[in-house]
Amino acid sequence: MTVLDTPAWRPRTEAGPLLPDAAPFRLLGTPEAARLAPALLTELYGQLVRGRRFNRQATALTKQGRLAVYPSSTGQEACEIAAALALGPRDWLFPSYRDTLAVVARGVDPVEALTLLRGDWHTGYDPRETRVAPLSTPLATQLPHAVGLAHAARLSGDDVAALAMVGDGGTSEGDFHEALNFAAVWQAPVVFLVQNNGFAISVPLAKQSAAPSFAHKAVGYGMPGRLVDGNDAAAVHQVLTEAVDRARAGRGPTLVEAVTYRIDAHTNADDATRYRDDDEVAAWRAHDPVDLMERELTGRGLLDDALRQRTADEAEALAAALRERMHDEPRLDPMELFAHVYAEPTQQLRDQEAMLRAELEAEQQS
């Protein structure tokens, strides 16, 4: 008997299976799907169709110069929608730069959600009011924020969970690791959703990670890892809901990998044909999240022409409203550049403000 045989050196639990399932969890098209409530399925369906239309419209707006850039989530709508719907009203969402759709599905005004991408300088929406963190461009940096917020809520005895989204590429950053470790040690009520869409810009999965799956990374932090078909909106929704419930119940964080695919290029400015084959895209188109849901609904007799038409109309109305509201360039007041750097501008900023004001007045006069 040595000290190594005592529980002291290994105080952590090992209850439950350590490894995630080897195959992604699915619901749509399986017998299990039968128990899913029709209302949930039709809600997911409506969101998926509107989401897809939103992505198409936003991409179109970049061509018209109405958006500076748009990273589309076409093909990944199931993840985006499910992430938003898995949260309760007081929970927080921490999106990455590609997740405008999740932000909109959570209820943020679409034009507000697009503010930064429009070339404006702020998030548009109020994070505290909407409980949606700013769309994060520096990859993985939002993950420790989610942990800190969840931890703070827990310390305050407040029943709030956080869900943070990151891409396959983003998992390589040190912040990913630090966030998961803090979350596990603190047992913070947070859920990490890795959208594995096969690419980080042009870099394919095989150059990003040699792990069996990203869900397997959970093992090394002492938290559960779940692998799910990211194009199966019902499956993602269920896995995330369970993880959020688990977090809220004080049982700690979960890492979820949703396997999906980025159908569009990285952004409107990218040419994906430089680094991937059409065949691969075609194979994934055959496993489309909207189609999967349509098939399920049709199979269960929940999708008739009327619903299909109404859903399509809603999507068109959304797109039309977006076009309309994004038609005018936002008018930015240059003087506001100095207003929010600090609570009170420094003397130096006041001087710079005065200089710019004088310039603008001179411009107007000439």
Partner: protein, 345 residues
């Protein structure tokens, strides 16, 4: 750790620091008083709990306020600052301790890309009242990576306040003000002054100075020394020694580099027409460059000589055995004063 802060013991009311107090004690007292004053204040960092920090600045806080108010984190500085951002988003006021200057570097992206910009990015909706305490500077015989002066990185980053006390009293007052500020503050603690003493006690609280006001520590008519943090005592000593040379030197303690109190500094320099900026970080691109350039812009026609700088060499911080050659000392300051072209004055 306990699940909720409600389980924490009642805050200790009695001040710990006794007269005369060290800067370390004053900082500890400031943290205590902030923890008592505002339940949103949380201290976190490496070894800040049971150990009380490697410099003992958080001594007894975990014992007196509970692990949830003063938390030992995993060893990851980006994680510490990143989670502090999230805590602040929720509404808390995190006070983060970085163990040494050089060990704050892993958190640089969080600092520059998030901490400094969140208020601006959200049009004021999401200010981040985070205080980042960083023991900085040399003079303690530290091995590699334990004596960096990193203020130039921070002062060039819009959105951060950069505060550094040079006296026991200011250590207390400025730390309280920093924690109370709704903006993020990089609070640089001159580690070699931790054990400096003063006739100060928290029983006789004095006005907390507002952040952003320089103070004239000594007035003088011949020339002005402009300095902050660890170099203040050296400048005061130099001013004393200068009397022998017949120079009457004034000394300005900036107290914060951002906001930079250019009114006060410019007024003093206009009065003397000669100035030397003193700090121990590398001179090239250091804080002294900004101070010299700005004062020159504002006071050019009052200057009898260029604003000179006495700073650390442009080298990696030297080892204990050589640091005395690197640090601005009295002689080097007096040499610079001597080069202020007195004949033309």
């Amino acid at each position: 750790m306990s699940p909720s802060s409600s389980t924490a013991p009642a805050p200790a009311a009695a001040p710990v620091a006794q007269k005369p107090a060290t800067m370390a004690q004053a900082l500890n007292q400031a943290l205590r008083d902030a923890l008592v004053a505002d339940p949103a204040v949380h201290v976190l960092g490496e070894d800040v709990g049971t150990l009380g920090g490697v410099f003992r600045i958080t001594d007894g806080l975990a014992r007196d306020f509970g692990d949830d108010r003063c938390t030992d984190t995993p060893l990851a500085e980006a994680g510490i600052l990143g989670t502090a951002v999230g805590m602040a988003m929720y509404g808390l006021r995190p006070v983060v301790e970085m163990q040494f200057d050089a060990f704050a570097y892993p958190s640089f992206e969080q600092l520059v890309s998030h901490v400094s910009r969140m208020r601006n990015r959200t049009r004021g909706a999401l200010p981040l009242p985070i205080t980042i305490r960083i023991p900085y500077g040399g003079g303690i015989g530290g091995v590699e990576h334990h004596s960096d002066s990193s203020e130039a990185y921070y002062l060039h980053t819009p959105g951060l306040h950069v505060v550094t006390p040079a006296t026991v009293e200011d250590a207390y007052g400025l730390l309280r003000a920093s924690i109370a500020s709704d903006d993020p503050v990089v609070f640089l603690e001159p580690k070699r002054l931790y054990w400096s003493k003063a006739d100060w006690s928290p029983q006789e609280p004095r006005e907390v100075p507002p952040i952003g006001r320089a103070v004239v520590r000594r007035s003088g008519r011949s020339a002005t020394l402009i300095t902050y943090g660890p170099s203040l005592p050296v400048c005061l000593e130099a001013a004393e020694a200068a009397k022998e040379e017949g120079w009457d030197l004034g000394v300005v303690d900036l107290r914060s580099l951002v906001p930079f109190d250019e009114e006060t500094v410019a007024a003093v320099v206009r009065g003397t027409g000669r100035a030397v900026v003193v700090h121990e970080s590398a001179g090239f691109g250091g804080a002294g460059a900004e101070i010299a350039a700005r004062i020159t812009e504002r006071c050019f026609h009052h200057l009898q000589a260029p604003v000179l700088r006495v700073a650390g060499f442009d080298i990696p911080y030297p080892p204990p055995m050589l640091e005395r050659h690197h640090l601005p000392g009295v002689d080097r300051i007096l040499d610079a004063v001597g080069r202020l072209q007195w004949e033309e004055g």
